[in-house]
């Protein structure tokens, strides 16, 4: 049993909602980088380094795809690297692409953490009664993320053994990988549809649903909520004040040096992101202590 299992699902959900909003609105490269590192750390604590490493190729592929898209579709920026079909390909577009890729990866990792900390059952118990459709949608979206890696492997293996998936040249290889991704999405969607059928078949969404057991509710939830709000306020200041907004086109290097509001964002945001790692870490230390007393 992890720390999150003993919290009320609303606390856990509110936490991840906050961290996801922070990640999706952060623009400064330092903020993005620190949130990314935190997401990697948290996922590592949850599933271990070995399984994290297994996901690296897929992550790199995604990063590469996002960067390439931005690089070839956006032609703004001052530092031109080369011309493609008469259109400039710029350094700024590349860097912006990398930063969006890192942001997307962090969001995926935090979502995967959420699905681990708040498994489908608890997600349903949180929303199922009042908002069955939202609960189902959240469950479907977040639920299949952890399965992505394994499923992707199966597909590349099978298509690779088929021979056709291996073209010559980088472009053909990228094409083949994109096909694999499209199979992955279709299969996962099919699976989610079947799962939704399984739920509807058993009366999901009927008014007046009950719960077999009550969710835990303790003072811990209240304390965490207070801490979360206290940290969120400074973290959200730059979002609403517009200060410290990062701009890739044109690139302004002086903005790399953070001002006060950005520093606040940076520290508060990182503190929020590190919160579960600290709590789970405390838990592990307690275990070690208890074991040493036996």
């Amino acid at each position: 049993m992890t720390y999150a299992d003993r919290l009320h699902p609303l606390t856990v959900f509110a936490y991840y909602l906050a961290i996801l909003v922070l990640t999706m609105t952060a623009t400064h490269p330092f903020a993005l980088l620190s949130l990314f590192v935190c997401s990697v750390l948290l996922r590592c604590v949850q599933i271990g380094l070995k399984r994290m490493l297994a996901g690296v190729p897929l992550a790199l592929l995604l990063l590469l795809a996002v960067t390439a898209l931005n690089l070839f579709l956006v032609h703004r920026g001052a530092k031109v690297l080369f011309f493609l079909n008469g259109k400039p390909v710029t350094l700024e577009a590349g860097l912006a692409g990398v930063s969006s890729g890192v942001m997307i990866l962090s969001v995926i990792l935090f979502c995967a953490c959420l699905s681990r900390s708040l498994p489908g059952d608890r997600m349903i118990s949180l929303f199922g009664g009042r908002l069955p459709r939202l609960a189902l949608l959240l469950r479907m979206t977040i639920g299949f993320l952890p399965r992505f890696g394994r499923r992707y492997r199966e597909i590349t293996d099978a298509r690779g053994a088929l021979g056709v998936a291996r073209g010559r040249g980088a472009l053909a290889k990228l094409r083949a990988r994109l096909f694999d991704l499209s199979i992955l999405l279709t299969l996962s969607l099919e699976e989610s549809m079947d799962q939704a059928d399984g739920m509807r078949a058993r009366g999901y969404g009927l008014p007046g649903a009950t719960r077999a057991s009550a969710e835990p509710r303790s003072a811990r939830d209240a304390w965490l909520a207070v801490i979360l709000v206290l940290l969120l306020v400074p973290a959200l200041v730059p979002l609403f004040s517009g200060q410290g907004e990062w701009n890739w086109y044109p690139l302004d290097r002086s903005a790399l040096v953070p001002d006060l509001s950005l520093a606040l964002f940076f520290f508060a945001g990182t503190a929020i992101a590190l919160l579960p790692i600290l709590l789970e870490g405390k838990e592990s230390l307690k275990w070690l202590y208890l074991r040493s007393r036996i």
Partner: protein, 556 residues
């Protein structure tokens, strides 16, 4: 008294022109056990889903379905959810919760049962199905058979009056299959729940069902008790008969067709008693009748030499000092329980996995070459993994891109695998059997020398199985080496030159197929069980029929 009355039900999928159900009429009595057989794609699944309001497909419906006198669509949603239970084919995809007990409780919670009552009802149901020890386990850690029992429990806990099963045991290995089917039988006999099951598992079900319905092209062709079904003269019925009555029909036996192995043995013992002198000679395998290993003298295509394999440094060994060879023109079947490592063996041979120790050789050279063309082709258990395009035609063109006589090759394959009518269909809209055929077509366009097939008959109807069988035989005759991982024992018996069991990380009991099946008492075919000690060695229905005919002539 009829609990379910289907009258003149016609259903057309949205956007389709041909109705999927075409005037189906059916009446099912309270407490009855009805088996629906038919080719895949004939409308079995559509009919079952139409009987469960929450799963009803989109489209146009005429006719009526009455549950206990009430029009199905007018049933209050709560009753529609609880009174009719549905268990589908894929054990993985139906579960919605994380642990067994919350999974079973899910329906009760959704339908608003009294919280005080829920755990009691979950406990009672889990106990009845013998899965109480699994209660706090995670669903993802269960075997397929266990998952399917949990799915049954989740439907049963709602106290349904009608349970619908759509090919529930297709993905299970033989022991899990028997366990699940006997659970259904208990639910039907002891709890009195009406059961409608669509599937291709006639062998195990004929002795226990009340009636058998045959569907064809959206119509219900006949609904008969199993013995009357076996007696039927209709040629359309024949392929769907299980081994024992098929042998009976094959030799035009007495008045009462036997259904179970026990009845069949009693029938053979009384009608075809063994002449005294023959008995001793019949005991062992008949060496002269053993099919020779085709091309047995030639060099092996694929060899594994002392292969060890595990998935991670600290994981258990899946392959332990495994050695075997596959010869050109040979069909080798590897049997064994799910999770034993059959798929791992295929992946090692396909070059997807590499041995930790030992070596895999192809054509005498170490290692597996990368490309599939003219080499090794691998069919994964889920054929959908191979489909990347929006139509069957594009799937096939993908394989021949750039080759000059591609169109011709596609044409030949399409007609040989009976895919003509589906060229514009989306691969995901095909039935299970059609998907297997499409995947096989893709592989065959590579003109491979070795085929590695993972459960190629899962979900195939008897006719499609026959088609796959003849295609594989033909490929074998042309020198293709075929390695099949399967738990379909009768298919393995019909097609293989050699069989082996995957056990404890290696292939054991590797021998020619007839010796394999006649040597086993339990892990063997219905035909072998039916004829053991009574007739000369017969491991398939056709062999048993031939043996009986020989004896008849000998006696007369």
């Amino acid at each position: 008294m009829a609990i379910l009355t289907v009258s003149d039900l016609t259903f057309t999928y949205k956007g389709a022109t041909i109705p999927a159900l075409d005037g189906c009429s059916l009446s099912v009595g309270e407490g009855e056990f009805l088996l629906i057989v038919g080719r895949s794609g004939c409308g079995k699944t559509t009919l079952l889903r139409r009987l469960k309001p929450a799963l009803a497909p989109y489209g146009e419906t005429t006719g009526s379905v009455l549950l206990d006198g009430t029009e199905l669509d007018r049933l209050p949603p709560r009753d529609a959810a609880t009174l009719i239970g549905f268990v589908g084919q894929d054990p993985e995809r139906q579960t919605v919760s994380d642990t067994v007990q919350s999974e079973i409780a899910f329906g009760l919670e959704s339908s608003g049962a009294d919280p005080a009552e829920i755990s009691g009802r979950v406990a009672e149901t889990a106990d009845f199905l013998g899965i109480a020890p699994l209660a706090s386990r995670k669903i993802s850690e269960l075997s397929g058979g266990e998952k399917q029992l949990v799915n049954l429990a989740s439907a049963l806990v709602l106290r349904p009056r009608l349970l619908l099963f759509d090919e529930p045991v297709t993905r299970l290995d033989p022991p899990a299959k028997l366990r699940f089917l006997s659970a259904i039988r208990r639910v039907n006999e002891e709890a009195g729940v009406t059961v409608i099951l669509a599937g291709h598992d006639a062998e195990e079900l004929f002795p226990i069902v009340d009636r058998v319905a045959l569907m064809d092209a959206g119509r219900i062709v006949s609904v008969l008790p199993p013995r009357a079904f076996a007696r039927s003269d209709d040629p359309a019925v024949r392929p769907f008969l299980p081994t024992v009555p098929r042998v009976w029909t094959g030799v035009k036996g007495g008045d009462e067709p036997p259904l179970s192995v026990r009845e069949g043995r009693a029938w053979i013992a009384s009608e075809y008693p063994a002449p005294k002198r023959e008995a001793a000679a019949d005991g062992g395998p008949d060496a002269s009748a053993l099919p020779g290993k085709r091309g047995g003298d030639s060099a092996p295509l694929l060899t594994a030499n002392g292969v060890w394999f595990r998935y991670g440094r600290n994981d258990p060994d899946v392959a332990k000092n495994l050695s075997c060879s596959l010869f050109p023109g040979e069909i080798l079947s590897v049997l064994g329980p799910n999770g034993a490592g059959k798929t791992t063996l295929l992946k090692l041979f396909a070059g997807i996995l590499r041995p930790v120790a030992g070596s895999v050789r192809y054509d005498g050279k170490k290692g597996i070459p990368k490309t599939g063309r003219g080499g090794i082709a691998y069919l994964p258990q889920n054929p959908a993994l191979l489909f990347a395009h929006d139509s069957v035609r594009e799937e096939l063109y993908e394989m021949t891109a750039g080759s000059p006589d591609g169109d011709e090759a596609i044409e030949t394959i399409v007609s040989r695998l009976a895919l003509d009518g589906h060229l514009d269909a989306h691969p995901y809209d095909l039935s299970g059997g059609e998907q297997t055929r499409l995947a096989l077509a893709k592989l065959l366009l590579l003109s491979p020398r070795v085929l590695l097939l993972d459960e190629p008959t899962a979900g195939l109807d008897p006719i499609a199985r026959g088609e796959v069988r003849s295609i594989l035989r033909e490929l074998g005759a042309n020198g293709c080496g075929i390695l099949i991982a399967t738990h379909d024992l009768s298919f393995a018996a019909e097609i293989s030159d050699r069989c082996a069991m995957f056990w404890n990380g290696a292939l054991t009991a590797l021998s020619d197929s007839r010796r394999f099946f006649s040597g086993n008492r339990f892990y063997t075919t219905q035909a072998a069980r039916l004829t053991r000690d009574l007739l000369p060695l017969s491991v398939t229905a056709d062999e048993a029929i031939a043996a009986l005919q020989r004896r008849k002539e000998g006696v007369e």
